[in-house]
């Protein structure tokens, strides 16, 4: 393609990989890991993979509220190590993270330090080799690793989110480098997340959601749904969030569904049990909680469920062999208005 129309400043850097890394590090254009230098040729290859004009604006990225153009997306895609065939997925990711419902500004400004987790559904998982099986929350798959990393680089390089100044995470967590999973739809007894949200099974989507570090919900003892879900609910106890994510492994999902539980039943079961009990709190904390959620008219006998409504719990089947599920808390406040952040699902268009 003709690269003369691209607007990014051209920078001359010594033709040496170490020099290039040093340059990007000095500029603050990396997450700390080495990047692939975004040369004109590489950026052009990314742009050639989509039928979009380089200057199309996909969204405004906080806290700088800078426009994420297709060109900027292509540049950061190269830097993250993405392949050109990921481009339409990356554009959908940017559509999702810049949707005002996600409230990306708050996710980055908070001391809470959540990651922006990406969940991929539909046939694109096979096309791009997105992992939804063994070690799904771990390393080993280029698509998962680099799509998740791309989302972080967009926040940093376009949005201007820098730890310590404009990103106020007290601790952060490793998911902030990259957290992107595919749903293991083939091993799921239930409808996948995107179908639950009104998309067709043969459509592909990305879902962006605020995510704190996960808690393992291991259960090798239970052979019945009530056992697995009671154990899972215990992992979910604590201060609530606007949503919650249950990543249920296929072995657990098979048992739960085999006992007749639909996704709706799963959500209702854990929602009724995963509670934050006001009677357990010291006086000072109790009174602060009462003030924070004055709409709930809390008393010492009250319990706050993990989310305001059972349907605010996301159930995603993922992972490989084993009886190891995980709970991912969603940073944010439950509020009478529906929460300070909400997950966003966008369709991937070729």
């Amino acid at each position: 393609m003709d690269t003369s129309t691209l607007q990014a400043e051209r920078l001359e850097v010594e033709d040496d990989i170490w020099a290039a890394q040093a340059f990007f590090e000095e500029k603050g254009w990396s997450d700390g890991l080495p990047i692939i230098p975004p040369t004109e040729d590489r950026v052009a290859q990314m742009l050639a993979a989509v039928k979009r004009a380089p200057q199309d604006v996909i969204g405004a990225v906080p806290p700088r509220w800078a426009p994420a153009t297709v060109e900027k997306i292509a540049i950061n895609a190269v830097m993250a190590g993405c392949k050109p065939e990921y481009m339409s997925t990356l554009i959908a990711c940017v559509e999702a993270i810049t949707d005002t419902k996600l409230n990306l500004y708050a996710l980055q400004a908070t001391t809470g330090g959540p990651a922006v987790m990406i969940i991929i559904n539909g046939p694109i998982r096979q096309e791009l080799n997105v992992n939804g099986g063994a070690n799904v929350l771990g390393e080993g798959w280029r698509a998962n690793a680099t799509i998740g990393r791309f989302v972080r680089l967009i926040q940093r390089n376009v949005g201007g989110s820098y730890p310590g100044t404009t990103c106020k995470a007290t601790l952060g967590w490793p998911g902030k480098y990259s957290i992107c999973i595919g749903e293991n739809e083939e091993a799921s007894p239930w409808e996948p997340l995107h179908v639950e949200r009104g998309f067709k099974a043969d459509q592909s989507t990305v879902t962006a959601i605020s995510a704190d570090a996960s808690i393992r919900a291991s259960d090798l003892d239970s052979t019945k749904a009530v056992g697995i879900l009671t154990n899972f609910a215990q992992r979910m106890e604590g201060p609530s969030g606007p949503e919650a994510i249950m990543v249920i492994c296929p072995e657990h999902a098979k048992i739960i569904a085999g006992d007749g539980f639909s996704k709706t039943d799963v959500k209702k079961f854990v929602w009724e049990r995963a509670a934050y009990r006001m009677k357990d709190l010291p006086d000072e904390t109790f009174h602060q909680r009462v003030k924070r959620r004055s709409d709930l008219k809390l008393t010492r006998d009250s319990v706050i469920p993990v989310t305001d409504k059972p349907e605010d719990i996301l159930v995603v089947v993922a992972g490989g062999d084993g009886s190891q599920s995980q709970y991912i808390h969603v940073w944010g406040q439950s509020t009478p208005e529906g929460g300070s952040t909400r997950s966003v699902t966008k369709v991937i268009r070729n």
Binding site: P62, P63, R64, W65, A66, A109, G160, T165, T166, K168
Partner: protein, 67 residues
């Protein structure tokens, strides 16, 4: 106007620039607030009150004092 703690000062400056409002008045108070006892918070609020009123009434004059 906006009241923030000093830990968020750089973020506030970034936002002012992003929205093209470099003169937007900001009052910076000591960080943290969330884990500080109520009487200490009240003391800090009392100490900041005059400046806050000044910013509200005369934002242009207060701007230099706050910056």
């Amino acid at each position: 106007m906006t009241v923030i703690t000093h830990a968020f000062d750089a973020l506030a400056k970034s936002e002012k620039e992003a929205f093209g409002a470099p003169d937007h008045p900001v009052l910076v108070v000591q960080h943290p607030i969330g884990t500080v006892k109520l009487d200490e918070v009240n003391k800090r609020a009392d100490a900041a009150f005059d400046k806050l009123v000044e910013i509200l009434i005369e934002p242009q004059r207060a701007k230099a004092a706050v910056a």
